[in-house]
């Protein structure tokens, strides 16, 4: 192994590609429409970005351990519906309804993890089944109608989760703070802790990890629960911010979240993951959605660009991987 220069090592990092893409994206949109970087637009974009971002952070850990979760979009919709249905029934307080929704989401994650690790069923099939069960339940209990949410005004829980505040002319929600905290926390967990070592080993070579005494099943179950809980939290935050708890909300989010994670450089097959990359991936996709509209491209064309980004980034990652393995 020859020593590489600092620059070379920086370029070889999996986060380098996404970083370049993000900078490029910002530059292009800003040059085409200067109000793209206005405080108002930044504030608007951030609000929803961090909600999906919370799920993407958890998904990064889960995918590093070699699994993924297609049920996050349905949990996103269901948890908010559950919380508001409980609260509106007048039986429980908002805090209790929140705790109940979070507990149910943890249970959903546990069931996902149990099926995957104990019955050895691929996570694709397990979480696809769970997606239908959870979405179906949300639609059934609400008859398909949105739940009332306006009564959250003034609740301390609502302010803590999505209270808004202004820095200069920039209006931000508390959720931005929670997202930043979660990003730092998950990055620390993955790179600096024993648990992070276990997560990577569980995805990289589960048999070797198991032989060393790593509890692969428990690691994966915990990550399924974390992913479900983050999806529920995001759904609840979103419902309070938009004052809407729609049983259909979150449809398709699972794929957008997985796209964010893989664009950032985390491998679909497990073993290697990067939170920094995921944060970049989150912004790449959300800024694309926002920027396309800002420069006047019809919103319906959005998916063309997203698809192209995914394909392009996958090609880049695969090329870097081959170079890396060749030792150059």
């Amino acid at each position: 192994m020859q020593q590489h220069s600092l620059l070379q090592r920086f370029i070889a990092k999996p986060e380098f590609g996404p970083l370049v893409l993000l900078v490029l994206e910002l530059a292009v949109f800003w040059s085409l429409n200067p109000s793209f970087l206005s405080l108002q637009n930044i504030g608007n974009t951030l609000a929803f970005t961090v909600e999906l971002g919370l799920i993407a952070l958890a998904m990064t850990l889960l995918m590093t351990s070699g699994e993924f979760d297609l049920s996050v979009g349905s949990v996103f919709g269901f948890s908010a519906v559950l919380m508001w249905t409980l609260f509106n029934s007048g039986v429980v307080s908002l805090e209790l309804a929140f705790l109940a929704a979070m507990a149910v989401s943890l249970f959903i994650g546990y069931v996902n993890g149990w099926f995957v690790t104990k019955l050895n069923i691929p996570s694709f099939l397990v979480t696809l089944g769970m997606l239908l069960v959870v979405r179906g339940t949300a639609l059934y209990v609400t008859d398909g109608f949105p739940q009332r949410t306006w009564s959250a005004e003034g609740s301390w829980l609502a302010s803590a989760l999505v209270g808004s505040f202004s820095i200069g002319g920039l209006r931000l929600y508390m959720s931005v703070f929670w997202f930043a905290l979660a990003a730092i926390g998950t990055h620390y967990l993955l790179t600096q802790t024993k648990a992070g070592n276990w997560i990577q080993a569980s995805g990289g070579n589960p048999n070797a990890a198991r032989a060393r005494g790593v509890n692969v099943s428990r690691t994966k179950i915990a990550l399924f629960m974390f992913s479900s809980a983050m999806a529920a939290l995001a759904g609840i935050i979103s419902s309070i911010r938009t004052s809407a708890a729609n049983p259909n909300s979150g449809t398709g989010y699972e794929l957008e979240v997985i796209a964010m994670v893989v664009i950032g450089g985390t491998v679909l097959t497990g073993g290697r993951g990067t939170i920094i990359g995921t944060v970049l991936g989150i912004f790449i996709l959300r800024i694309m959605r926002n920027g396309i509209v800002m420069i006047g491209v019809p919103g319906l064309a959005y998916n063309i660009f997203i698809g192209a980004i995914i394909l392009g980034m996958m090609a880049l990652h695969s090329w870097l991987e081959r170079r890396h393995n060749a030792g150059t």
Binding site: M1, T193, A208, R210, N325
Partner: protein, 252 residues
């Protein structure tokens, strides 16, 4: 010199369904010895090793470690009893660094427990020391991922790990398969190194020449039975051992 017993297996039987893979195998491994385990394909070598390493449960029989009867039901039981098995390529997590692999499952923690923080410094220092000990003279930083290592270097890391973590018995399953000449010599050197630092080894290889270069004693299996357990490589020729493996010697 009275040899000290390390592992003893008594009347081990293993059935896979109706296939009788191990037939009343009894053997003994002493401290500080490298034992070669030979046999043709299907002779029962792998099954025997899998039983001892906890990869498959035995049907009947007893295993003793340092004179005490032990239950080996899974791989972690074997490791807890000081028995470490190094399979070709499968023992390491390719994406993780050398240091992270060495400490996998026994990571040292620094600072308050709830922070669960890896002690990177200790891991790096120990890894550097170990790599030197197994004779990797090239300057390989402990942060290097396994994917960047050659086959021989990977075996070296796996052996280094077994040596570090108080494994009394290191089982090497075909460690020289697919390796070049220089790398094979390296692996054989690690095996001698392991013995000299107080470990015992069971060395399984198709290549009898490799086995002859490094072992103190040779055991041979045939048809699920242990047919020879004390062949001295210094007093025996490779041809003689080959005849035991194939069963030809019975005809003469």
């Amino acid at each position: 010199m009275a040899a000290e017993e390390l592992v003893r297996m008594e009347n081990i039987n293993k059935f896979y369904g109706r296939i009788h893979a191990l037939r009343d195998v009894s053997l003994r491994i002493d401290r500080h010895e490298v034992v070669g385990l030979l046999g043709d394909n299907g002779a029962g070598k792998s099954t025997l090793i899998k039983v001892l390493s906890g990869a498959v449960p035995l049907t009947s029989g007893d295993i003793f470690v340092k004179g005490k009867k032990v239950e080996i039901k899974r791989t972690t039981d074997a490791i807890a009893n000081g028995i470490e098995t190094i399979y070709q390529d499968s023992a390491l997590v390719p994406q993780l660094s050398i240091a992270r692999n060495l400490f996998l499952g026994r990571e040292p923690i620094k600072g308050p427990r709830f922070l669960n923080r890896l002690d990177h410094q200790t891991m790096g220092a120990v890894a550097r020391q170990l790599l030197k000990k197994v004779g990797i003279t090239k300057d390989i930083p402990p942060e290097t991922p396994i994917t960047a290592l050659s086959g021989g270097e990977r075996q070296a890391v796996a052996i280094a790990r077994a040596m570090q973590f108080d494994s009394d018995l290191i089982i090497l399953d075909e460690p020289t398969n697919n390796l070049g000449v220089a790398e094979t010599q390296g692996v054989l050197r690690f095996v001698r190194e392991a013995r000299d630092t107080g470990h015992s080894c069971i060395f399984i290889a198709h290549n009898i020449h490799h086995v002859f270069q490094v072992v103190d004693r040779i055991m041979v299996m045939r048809g699920g039975k242990l047919v020879a357990d004390d062949i001295d490589p210094k007093k025996t020729t490779i041809e003689q051992v080959e005849r035991v493996i194939t069963g030809e010697h019975l005809l003469h």
